[in-house]
Symmetry: C2
Subunit: 333 residues, 2 copies
């Protein structure tokens, strides 16, 4: 559990693309984002207040979150001055970088001296159990994709926001670094040891009230040969009641796999549902989330209409057109 609220460290991010994590926190947990702190030459701006460490602390900030993904993966000396000063002032640090905070001797020394915590969200900190498959109370929704990076996290985040706005009980359950930094907790599933993957998802989505929905962040794809095992563990560990099919229609091949084409939404449905029903015989496919960012609005709407006709399921782009149709489908269950 990462303590909130956050001050978002953008460092010397060359552009907004590098600030993906910080943007996610600003968009999905605005109450956690007190302000931003930038170094000279920073090309990213979240539109938040630029605060010094002291100003943010006076406003209540508990954790300095490294909201920037630098290509080299190195924690530079320019960053170190701010990070160490933050630890000296009593901040915790949180990071999803490959270069772990805990591998930096000066950060470890400062954290030990001043009592701060270094959160490396890439590394599991819990000894997860082996999955036992016992049916849990409460309801669970999982987004599954025709490919990696088709909008599964975004879909779950948008649904959580809209469900909470409607007064429904809903919790986004993070399974990746960005999601964990946004919400402050979760399971870094891609770093969990094979035997404990499904168990880590059971741990993440425990018994709950009968009308509560966990919105589980999807990972990988059953059709992506590099990561399909991770997806499989999510489907069986999550024992979802509802599946949302996610797709990006303009992609020419599976992400990073030039020899592999994407499956159709029908094939994804027919593959994922029987597998999900192993863990939860009542599971249903309830809707489709399409990432239409590379389509005109007219093309996007035409595509969604076609999907609805072909699959007989509500379809939307939750970013562009809202997630109401998907939330309606859950509410109707």
């Amino acid at each position: 559990m990462i303590e909130t609220p956050y001050l978002l460290f953008l460092g010397d991010a060359p552009d907004m693309l590098a600030a993906k994590v910080a943007i996610g926190i600003r968009d999905w947990r605005p109450d956690h984002a007190l302000g931003q702190i930038r170094l000279p030459g920073c090309g990213a701006d979240l539109g938040l207040k630029d605060l010094t460490l002291a100003e943010a602390q006076a406003a209540g900030a508990k954790t300095l979150v490294i909201g920037v993904a630098n290509r080299g993966g190195v924690i530079s000396q320019a960053w170190k001055e701010v990070l160490i000063e933050a630890l000296e002032m009593g901040y915790d640090l949180a990071s999803g970088l490959h270069n772990l905070l805990r591998d930096e001797g000066d950060l470890v020394a400062a954290a030990q001296t001043y009592g701060g915590t270094l959160h490396d969200v890439r590394v599991p900190t819990v000894g997860y159990p082996i999955a036992n498959g016992v049916k849990r109370s409460g309801k669970r929704c999982l987004a599954v994709g025709t490919d990696c990076s088709v909008g599964k996290m975004y879909t779950a985040m948008a649904m959580e926001r809209d469900m909470v706005a409607r007064g429904m009980k809903a919790t986004f359950r993070a399974t990746g670094q960005t999601g964990i930094l946004i919400t402050g907790h979760g399971v870094p599933l891609d770093a969990v040891v094979a035997d404990f993957m499904a168990g880590s998802i059971e741990y993440l989505t425990p018994d709950n009230e009968d009308d509560h929905w966990d919105l589980i962040e999807g990972q990988g794809s059953l059709f992506h040969v590099s990561y399909s095992g991770v997806t499989m563990a999510l489907i069986h560990g999550g024992q979802p009641d509802a599946l949302i099919l996610c797709h990006e229609p303009t992609r020419a091949h599976m992400r990073g796999l030039p020899d592999y084409t994407l499956p159709s939404l029908e094939r994804l449905r027919d593959t994922a549902l029987p597998l999900a029903q192993v863990a939860n015989p009542a599971c249903q496919v309830v809707g489709v989330s399409v990432n239409t960012q590379h389509m005109s609005e007219a093309d996007a709407k035409a595509y969604l209409t076609e999907v609805e006709a072909n699959l007989g399921l509500p379809a939307t782009d939750p970013y562009r057109f809202g997630s109401d149709k998907l939330v309606d489908a859950l509410a109707a269950m």
Copy 2:
């Protein structure tokens, strides 16, 4: 790579069941098993020569293999005397125990002093790549099960032996602790970090001669919710040309999951094959391996006849009736 031949340490194993690893080595790699060494009270006997450390070393033994799985998982003080003496004499040690050799200070000290290697086969020692899905040369066969522990390793081992006897090019590829100790190398898949599972299997089964078969040791089951992600990674990382369906007909429920019934062989076929064809469109289901140990010979034969009629595939119990039918199926491809 664990150096052979082995001296098999049975310790104070209460019975033969506890000596499963040693039995596997004796049965499948008899040339590796120079002899056994037992402590007072040992209730297991492999029928091998009882050798002292000195006698075995004189006969060429390189590694003392802990061939016993003790329930508590602890390396007892009674064992330590033999293990340390072996290191002093220049042996390596190999173990698949949860209690790692490397976590025992006195063993580490002796290994460092005398230059021996401690092989803990539960722990990956290679930085595996992320799977790239590129089609590899050579052929691969994977056993998939309706459940865990239905005879997948045994099937692959039996096929390897019979293929080599026929002059075919075949290599058993171990993916679990017992298989690794038997053959001296492999991937401890259940201990590999999620993102690298499929890549570890690509690493294990590289490009090979066109008429060479890798017989990949299966793990888990697509229908076992605790471990299905591991099975999925094997199917996509292994990109098999041939699948063998494995089943144990008398089991009342999935192993360790009392609320889950086993799927039919037809359902396993219809689930596994389309998933395998994602990575290898030419993949076929070529045969069925039935573990008939709890059936009379008449019942076993009747069951196999029924399976052959229902599935239109050759079916055998490779332990009881030989693996010829399965090898014939591979040879015909």
